[in-house]
């Protein structure tokens, strides 16, 4: 089966500085794929290219087997939904209207929604548990609620791939887990390929099928979490000592960054096992 997303020898630079260097990888259909890396590693640039926002300067990107350049914007929008990094969306638009906007790629220029579209929107809101908020205005919601509304909108697009750029960055614990659970459900129940950038290594470890660890625009590691999350690789990526152990929940790795007071003379050597 063709991979959902395939990247071949992708390179990109802003002006003189190279941001992505000769990247090649593939994302399988229905996978939960999480991209990790420190700031400046090129994660967001990569995602913008995958979303069709930036044109690859060298190399190729294939979405669902077809070169991304061969898609019109609308065609791409019918297959792929994108949630960029956002702070807040505060304006007097109702939740329902915003979710309905997700139907745009499937409608004409005037965007005249039918009863069917309204039904789909309701389902999406129910799925993300924002239906009780349907008639509230966006500027009245909390960050977590806004995020779930935006995900509902993405679901309305009926995509096969969902791209999310640090969706949990500004959320509290409960909402972080809620969003990740939602993505997992989407993957399992609707077979949607989820491609996410995350800053939270532990969440990534618990949910991802495959991880991509980026540093300075190059791949430091790619594969299932157990393969990628070695402390040397992580230290090389993030530049700080970490401790990799097993999660109390069992079956997952847990990464603990090490504060200064715990570090021995030789930085980088792991302390004795607790």
């Amino acid at each position: 089966m063709k991979p959902a997303v395939e990247v071949r020898k992708l390179a990109y630079r802003y002006g003189r500085s190279p941001v992505l260097q000769d990247l090649s990888f593939a994302i399988g259909s229905g996978a939960f794929f999480i991209i990790l890396g420190p700031n400046g590693s090129g994660k967001t640039t990569l995602m913008k290219i995958l979303a069709g926002h930036l044109r690859p300067q060298r190399g190729n990107v294939f979405i669902l087997g077809k070169n991304i350049r061969g898609y019109s914007r609308r065609q791409l929008a019918c297959r792929m939904a994108y949630l960029p990094q956002l702070t807040r969306l505060d304006f007097p638009m109702s939740v329902r209207d915003l979710v309905l906007m997700g139907r745009s790629p499937h409608l004409g220029m005037l965007g005249l929604e039918t009863e069917e579209d309204h039904r789909l929107a309701e389902n999406a809101m129910r799925y993300t548990n924002v239906l009780p908020l349907a008639d509230r205005r966006m500027d009245q919601l909390s960050g977590g609620e806004q995020q779930r509304v935006l995900i509902a909108r993405a679901i309305c697009q009926q995509p096969q791939i969902v791209l999310l750029d640090e969706p949990t960055a500004a959320l509290d614990l409960a909402h972080q887990v809620a969003v990740m659970d939602l993505m997992e459900r989407l993957k399992q129940e609707k077979n949607i390929t989820v491609v996410m950038i995350s800053h939270d290594v532990n969440l990534a470890a618990m949910y991802a099928d495959r991880l991509l660890l980026l540093k300075d625009g190059g791949i430091l590691g790619i594969g299932p979490p157990c393969e990628v999350l070695h402390h040397q690789r992580l230290e090389k990526a993030y530049g700080c000592p970490v401790l990799v152990t097993e999660s109390p929940l069992g079956g997952y790795l847990r990464i603990t960054p090490v504060p200064r007071r715990f570090r021995k003379q030789a930085p980088g050597a792991p302390p004795a096992d607790p």
């Binding site: 929008a77 960029p84 409608l107 005037l110 929604e113 009863e115």
Partner: protein, 336 residues
Amino acid sequence: MSLGRPVIVRRMLLLSIPLLVVLLAAVYLGMSIGSTGVDLRAVARSLAGGLSDDPTLGTIIWQIRFPRALLAALIGATLSLGGLVFQAILRNPLAEPYILGISGGAAIGAISGILLGLSRFPGVSLTSFAGSMATLLVLMLIAGTRSMVQNNRLLLSGVMVNAFCGAVIMFLISITQDSRLHNIIFWMMGDLSLADMHQVTILGITVLPCFLFIFYLAHAMNVLLLGQEMAQSMGFDVRIIVSLLLVVTSLMVSATVSHCGLVGFVGLVIPHLFRLLLGADHRLLVPACLLGGGAYMVLCDILARTLPSHGEMPAGVVTALIGAPLFIYLLKRTER
């Protein structure tokens, strides 16, 4: 599985039909009220079968008041719509139709025409139109087409262009010392007194296609609110849409200003008013601004003609005197 009737179309009709009635009523009132009296029944008779017993009144109603009411409606519709579009594409609630240098350029063009001794129509209106299109061109060169979507740059460039034009205008006014000064000031305050059917028809033909075009892009304006990235990811080519909207709206506003001068305030407040009442869906706001803005301007023009005991007030004065308190009142009422 039936597709069902579009829900939004129903809402648009429920909104537009009453507003259209209000607009027609306002025009009727505009035809009935004038400096020589109130003739409600005469207008009705004239519409029904003709006013054969009083041809002078017929002339007054159809050749003086009717074109003026139509012109007011067109002005109100255009400026309100212009404000709505600029507020959407610049994503700034303080945006209004003159903000991108249109008023400055149009005024310089008009003043030049007046100083050259050209007649109001077509001479001064052509120079005014040329002036505003020239500033738009300059603005687009300064701001660059890339930053059409980096909204603050466009906005700031527009404000600077307007400020520069303002200085030039002050200078031109200060060196004019004869009766042309009078003409200049009237133009700058907004002047509907020269309306005739010929002029109104030309303006109508120019702006009606713009109305339709903007309505066609109403849904796109909704999606633009989400920001360039999300709008693009939903299939909209933001740069092209914003450029087209910018050019068409500027054209529409320039055409209007070149006919009647700088009527202020309508373009800022009417979109906000309807947004308070109807929400942010532009498919509703576009018809609302067109019809509601038109009706508002017709009513304000009636007041401008009848309130003073001699002569008339500039149209822009009435729109501000009435609009500002009304807006503040609505703002307080919808505060939750």
